[in-house]
Symmetry: C2
């Protein structure tokens, strides 16, 4: 068997990401991806058995990057310099901050402690929002690919479960937020739509809106998303 | 010049809608649309000078249907039997109901009158929400096409302005809602994203979510959308 090269594998995922987000699934063939990555179709098959496997691997890589950025922002209440780099960050770490936020939520009984826990959860989700908006500005193809794949026939339950495991820290916080009465009693899919898919709508609209969507609107949009998911006071 | 037939023209728009929403813009050629509509490519060019003109006409037809349904629901506080049919309905009619809602909003000064105007506007937007969800269930291709076109290079400022004119009744209500302090001081694009694009996200998620999105979630989603756009009490 020929030597497999990690750089080539990464180049393949990047080429798939670019090709699919620009041209869609239908016209993106293995031959086209190979050409974009500067290799022969034969080389592609050394790494992935078919187009389907290549698309799935790209989706999982894209989802990993989005989830890592979200969890890092959620877990890092201090300055960004103090936080660990995305590379080294392990979502399973559950830093002290998260442990204390979860304790605050679970013990919130009086109006005062509930208010403090609400404030903490809102701040943490606000950081996630900002971090995802920045990520979307830096790498617009990421969200485009993610959205396309999520609503295609390529999406499978097993991929969803794998991603939910990676995002467990966030999902736990949502569950505790609901339990403690900070968040509305709503299905996770509604939190996803109002808190995360609205970011994608904003980013998507940015390119084609005249005038372009302002920074102020991005800030207001987080407040709107929060009002959508939080219990009314 | 050969005879132009309104049924054929309509069949062409329907075929474009179906082909694009199923396969995307990139692979949808005039030849493919012609075949789906059961006519020769030559016949297509009797009606539309090129693919671009055909796509634009389809978009305007799709937008017209969505806007008509929205405005009819917004304008019809009585039972649906009492309302006019979609076919006969003229958005420019501005029925008595809208005139009185606008008067309520413009004159809302005391806490009581503001509360009543808020209730009326929320009810009217709730009917719009329900009507659009029903439309999406009946004709899923409509929203898929609309979303794809809106974020493609085919979208132009002139098309947007034409649609805003058709939706004037709704846009006026949003403007007055902001003026009277019922709605947040936010850009129209944020109202669109939280009130309308969330419907598309729900419909899109319905096909691929396991378990499927419940009716209860659809109802809760309107409350969330309202909380997002309305001033906090």
């Amino acid at each position: 068997m020929r030597h497999r090269d990690e750089h080539k594998q990464q180049a393949l995922l990047e080429a798939t990401l670019t090709e699919v987000s620009e041209h869609g699934f239908a016209v993106t063939s293995v031959a086209r991806i190979a050409k974009a990555a500067g290799m022969s179709p034969g080389t592609v098959y050394l790494y992935y058995r078919d187009k389907e496997a290549l698309l799935e691997a790209t989706f999982m890589e894209v989802a990993r990057r989005i989830i890592d950025v979200a969890i890092e922002a959620f877990s890092a209440p201090l300055s960004s310099e103090a936080s660990q780099s995305s590379e080294a960050f392990q979502p399973s770490d559950a830093p002290d901050y998260i442990v204390s936020l979860e304790m605050m939520m679970s013990q919130a009984s009086s109006e005062e402690t509930l208010g403090a826990a609400t404030h903490q959860l809102k701040s943490a989700l606000g950081r996630v929002w900002q971090a995802l908006v920045s990520l979307g500005h830096r790498e617009p193809a990421l969200f485009r690919f993610h959205d396309q794949f999520l609503h295609s026939s390529h999406m499978h339950e097993s991929l969803k479960i794998a991603n939910q495991e990676k995002a467990a820290v966030l999902l736990d916080a949502f569950a505790m937020g609901k339990q403690s009465g900070i968040l509305k009693q709503i299905d996770l899919v509604l939190i996803e739509i109002f808190l995360f898919r609205t970011i994608y709508s904003l980013l998507q609209g940015e390119g084609c809106q005249i005038p372009p969507i302002s920074d102020e609107s991005f800030d207001q949009a987080f407040e709107m998303a929060w009002d959508a998911i939080a219990q009314r006071p």
